[in-house]
Symmetry: D2
Subunit: 458 residues, 4 copies
């Protein structure tokens, strides 16, 4: 895939439903469509019926993988689904999720969003105990650890096994007759609980997936909480105590959809407020405010509201260019960001504009964008970023291992501005970012200030 | 495919390039990505090299159909491409374009955007002359008619054959050593000419496809004009005279991308002006103006600018739900428009809002949308439409045959308003629509007033 | 496909059935399985039902192409099928058969076994009349010629159109409500008529295909005969008169299955008699007679019966190696014929053996075989061939265009023997070959003596 | 797959090669082609290169699964391959072999021919120790047991782990830098060692696979023997002692190819001798001896040699009908064995014939065959079977679980004769069968006399 974006990626979206009266496979399919933005490389659904779990997974987008015939086979009382994004090397079918295994207690399927920081230690532990592994994923490590944990019942195995995991993990697990949802004790990645039709239970990475199938959002799964959904209802049977939590602040900044609500805060509104705060703290005169679509739009509206500078559409996003595997020729490569964003030259010519983006990782895209816009006659460009400088890599479920250079790691803001060719550049402070979110909670802000709730172990 | 939209569809996008120094297959691929919105059902590319034309076409999206291996085989001095949307029955590979045939003058490939109104007459004519047909497309009729037209040279055959065609047809034709572009004498569908690198020649349904590969737009192909692109340059060798032209006004209203320029008028700007005129003629008090994404956004901005009512994002479009082939269960069906548009309830609750859309065809979507928004607590909804009531079917390349009921055909505006459940409803007049486009030209406005430049023959 | 054989190939097998009370698609599938040896490159079935013809064809073997779902769609009152072998260049899906076209009289599908000798003339004729072609097959030429022939009814078109064709053509044609079978007036390729269940009608390239679905063989379609099968029964409505017929003698020698009966003569028995005559005319002392499997086995039995020299299995044929597309490494290439035939060294060591084969085209296989057997300790090898020296290419449906050198074209028998490394070599004379067939009829023996019933036109 | 045969099936064929100077993936491909008859459901190849093992496996025939591109990726110093046949329920990709796992000592791939009799016990043992399983195959059980066996080195793990296995298992195992071959201590299934080019080492289920790639057969792997092949040569590093061996006698009777040599005895010759002994012990007057192709042919020749009754081809086997998945209609079902065997009625009419087959399992095929031949006018039919009555099921790698009724289990030979409709019936005695094999060794003859070297554990 040509790297037309420099955006960081979250690894996955998970979805689970226990609802004997519903078409669980079909609803999971529609739930995954709503979570497609969280992983576009592979997807899968497992459904449990009559003590047997059926699984279908493949490489590709959700609507390419599933046909009516396949969906019809994914029936039963409960189901779970997964969409996946992976870094290059490990992009293959055998690593796709959900994982389906048979253990002493029977079949179980597992879907995972996040990243373990003690993956190597746990892998060595398992191999030394004589286990053998089929994949190179931490999801398999989690599944095999649960299977071999002490405990008579599955619940006991979870209570004994999960504490061995360190890192970010929102898990959904399907057994023959029950569905489980578990969130790591640091609460890094999101996981939301809902109900469908007042009887069935749903969990999903984002609230919008629950609403997209007509469900109602109940609450977030708490950090360290384990819940069981079964014919006898929902049971929050255990919670690992931990004070040092840290919810990934980038879910508000970029990962989650604007129509998702996390901890009662609508993501769109937090972005609007971030734009407003940016306008207050970093005002500048201009003809128009424009957002880099799609993630910058909400904040650009906020900046416009606060500054009274008109919001304008200035960049049209090419919807179909993002996933191409065709190598660009030199001519195409030279076009760079032009393939992805089409500037409305007629609108922007001879104007001074403020461009709102959510973050700068490598800076490549914004640099090309500034150059393109200036070549189209834009007079001045002021960059405003709705988060602090991105300075540190992340090992909790975000693919920053691909970025050898974080532009903000070694450079001052002035140097970054020069490198990007902008007329001014300003970032939102961490304090203001938190203010825009308006939720009392601990955040993981490691990428900004190197403070992680749980660190990579060596 | 479940009909989650009631939007009308244009049938096709075409792209052609004559540029011996470029990778013509690769550039055509990128050109088709920019035209993907004009047809998402099948696509194909033909390239001519060493007197042999190579063709690859298949069902699906452009980025699903072509691999690096395939693109590498599509080399030569010239190429053409096509993206297609078709009505249900005829959605199959044998009807995909381009069409490749061998005639007395050698191989040729043809791609077509539009619709013939004398298809049945020409089909009967060909069959009666002893021809046999492989497909049920008017594109094949055009190709076989050209092959059997009088004339020694290919140019002569075009000059003699094309006048037999009545209707809408923007054609790109590839022979062993030349590329041709032809537009019907009524000038119904668009076709734009450009250059790449100052030497190669490009034609495309929309200017943005030319710009997306780094080309420069030169001008529109004129109604009835035939041009030849070859090693000796570009030659506009013939034009069928016709005063009664009519460019499809819906290209400005809905079909074309906002970043396309038609007759020197940027589509986005015409939509902003339409929104402004709508605000002038049909003002109403409200808290927010929101557009139905994506087509209503430009006009909503215009309405906001003129009325000073704040523009707001109120509906998030689900990007991945549009193309699913999975049958929705009753639960999903009941969700209706909710699957496609996610309302930002927190933002809109207790507010009076103006919703801007480009047109109302059946009305189903808007009706569900109004109901959904009211259920989320929206106080009042004022609908503003950036075109006149859509009253008549189209036979010039738009799939309105699927719509048994055009809501505006039999109903007054007040009745439509009631049916939709809106608190007010207003349309832009045809005069104002034309004013917003700001181009001196004749339009086909048949869908609004039953005045077509060329009519279906019985 | 690596050329592990030097055997010549017939181009195709055809099958047709008119039987409203039967599952026509399913029976055609089983009929094609019985004709698979006549073409292993592509296959297809067309079925007519309720005035609509449904077609499915693809590259590959019959059992790879058709699934239960596809067969279920191929229902109706009549069907036809085709298996195809082609020379390299034209091995692609668009050339696969049956061909389906719409003409003035409606849809029709056509399957063809044979080769036209005036293909170029007819192609030029059609192109000059303004026709355009989709493929490079003579089958398409035949279909388009019929469509454009004079005549009100389809029968009239056949009566007027077919005489323009020169060469070998056994045709089966399906229209909305009837099935037609036609054989060229020279009677080159076989076509047999049968009945199923006393009511339905069947035609097939070989009688064994009729018997394999439980049908009864009635008779051969006569040279130049045209028959129609419909709800009103079977009607032999026309026959082109011609005295100069010539049935391809190679159908007896090699092409047809040993269990097929042609003109009341069981192919196996004609081969046994050829072996007997060979033993009489070309006796030699030996320990064993072995046949090159599978085609040489019947004749080896005959030779053994006549000579009283024991028949022995000496070569085991590898059943799965014939169709591989994997390039052999040098090691594999050096093994040559060993990949295909495994010699029973323990049995043949220190023995003098007679090897019976049906023909020698290039001689490559036999040369490698002789070398292999001698390396395994075989004392003496006497080659006996059940047909005369193959000296001339064929243009009537056999792929000899690939063979630049026919070993018998320029060499004496003694020179061929030396080249092959055999201790003796003898061919059956044409007189004896005809005697073995025991049928009073004219044969095409062009490959032996350059006497063809109809010649290639220049 | 419709059951057109009543033949029993062996489960698998295995192939391994350690030869740094050869194209190991390509040679394994050709080796698998030679073993295709041992498993036609799925196939796979794993190759080790630069400490990484690459695997490709899929459902289908070997020549359908592998393309040139795939073979090119299977390079390295060693490779192994597998062809698989499975009983219905477990016919899916996840059960295909080879299996690839990562254990404490690195990656390893395993291919297995045979069946464990203590599968359930070992599965329970592993699950109770906390292991989780991906498949329902005993091959996975073997792989995981080895991984968790005691031992520092891989050799030690084999020496400690393999003795836990009871049943039939010919194993080939690939690690990053070595290849292992192991045979169960009862020596049930075959495994032969060879060399290629005097340097590389090869193992295969049958000697003919070694010879098909130009290798030389060295000897059988001994019961209980473990060998290692590496850059330092071949090392037979361990042998589990066991006196109670039993080589599956059906490898001589039916499973192995006639051109394979087992323990220096050519399978074809043992079958010829079985036919001769049958003629001595159970003579009968007749016009012809015919064999049921392909397995009965060698023995029919032997019977003919001994009895002086002429050998005749009387049944032509349809080569392409065996693997169809298309449901036969009632008409086709009624044809039964006719689809598979085409009788040469003209040859056999009014004759008394002896039919030689290798075994009778259910008797369905022979019953239909006798009926078919009698309906074609055969006067008398004498059945002669080259093995004793098949009375007991097998749990050592042969799929007899599908056969609810073994016709010989409850019936006398006279009753069987009546049931089959034959005029006489005789079996070869176990003593004579062993005499025909001419090898001093212990056999598993459980299917004849219920004496197995190792029994199913309860």
């Amino acid at each position: 895939m040509i790297n037309l974006e420099e955006k960081i990626h979250d690894h996955c979206g998970v979805f689970g439903i226990f609802a004997p009266e519903e078409e669980v496979g079909r609803l999971t399919y529609y739930g995954l469509l709503a979570l497609q933005h969280r992983g576009q490389e592979s997807a899968g659904i497992a459904a449990s019926s009559q003590n047997h779990i059926t699984l279908h997974k493949d490489m590709g987008l959700v609507d390419q993988i599933f046909t009516e015939d396949i969906i019809n086979k994914l029936h039963g009382q409960a189901a779970l689904g997964h969409t996946r994004y992976a870094t290059e090397g490990a992009s293959k079918l055998s690593n796709a999720q959900p994982i389906l295994l048979t253990a002493s207690f029977g079949e179980f399927a597992l879907a995972h969003n996040g990243n373990l920081v003690n993956y190597q230690q746990l892998k060595t532990f398992l191999l030394n105990k004589g286990h053998s592994l089929n994949t190179s994923t931490d999801s398999e490590i989690i599944a095999r650890l649960i299977a071999e944990a002490n405990g008579q019942s599955f619940k006991e195995k979870l209570i004994n096994g999960i504490p061995q995991l360190r890192g970010a993990f929102s898990l959904v697990i399907l057994t023959a007759d029950k569905l489980y949802a578990i969130r790591d004790q640091w609460g890094v990645r999101p996981l939301t609980l809902g109900q469908v039709n007042g009887k069935g239970w749903v969990v999903a990475s984002e609230s919008t997936a629950i609403e997209s199938i007509g469900g109602e959002v109940i609450r977030e799964i708490k950090p360290g909480e384990m819940i069981e959904m079964s014919a006898t209802g929902m049971d929050s049977f255990h919670q690992i105590k931990n004070k040092n939590t840290g919810f990934c602040i980038f879910e508000y900044v970029y990962f989650s959809r604007p129509d998702s609500t996390i901890n009662s805060s609508l993501v769109h509104q937090t972005r609007v407020r971030a734009g407003q705060l940016l306008a207050k703290k970093h005002p500048v005169k201009a003809d128009y405010v424009i957002g880099v679509p799609d993630s910058g739009t909400s904040s650009a509206l906020g900046y416009s509201q606060e500054s009274k500078i008109p919001f304008q559409e200035g960049l049209i996003k090419s919807r179909y260019v993002g996933r191409t595997f065709i190598q660009p020729s030199q001519r195409i490569r030279d076009l760079g960001v032009r393939l992805k964003f089409s500037p409305l030259a007629e609108v922007l010519k001879d104007k001074t504009i403020i461009i709102i983006d959510d973050s700068i990782v490598r800076g490549t895209t914004l640099k090309q964008l500034v150059k393109l816009l200036k070549s189209k006659g834009v007079k001045k460009i002021h960059l405003r970023i709705t988060s602090p400088p991105f300075r540190h890599p992340c090992f909790l479920g975000v693919d920053v291992s691909r970025y050898k250079e974080l532009i903000a790691n070694k450079n001052t803001i002035e140097k970054i501005r020069k490198e990007l060719g902008a007329d001014s550049l300003a970032y939102l402070s961490l304090t203001d970012l938190k203010k825009s979110i308006k939720v009392k909670m601990n955040f993981c802000t490691g990428c900004f200030n190197n403070k992680y709730p749980v660190r990579k172990e060596s």
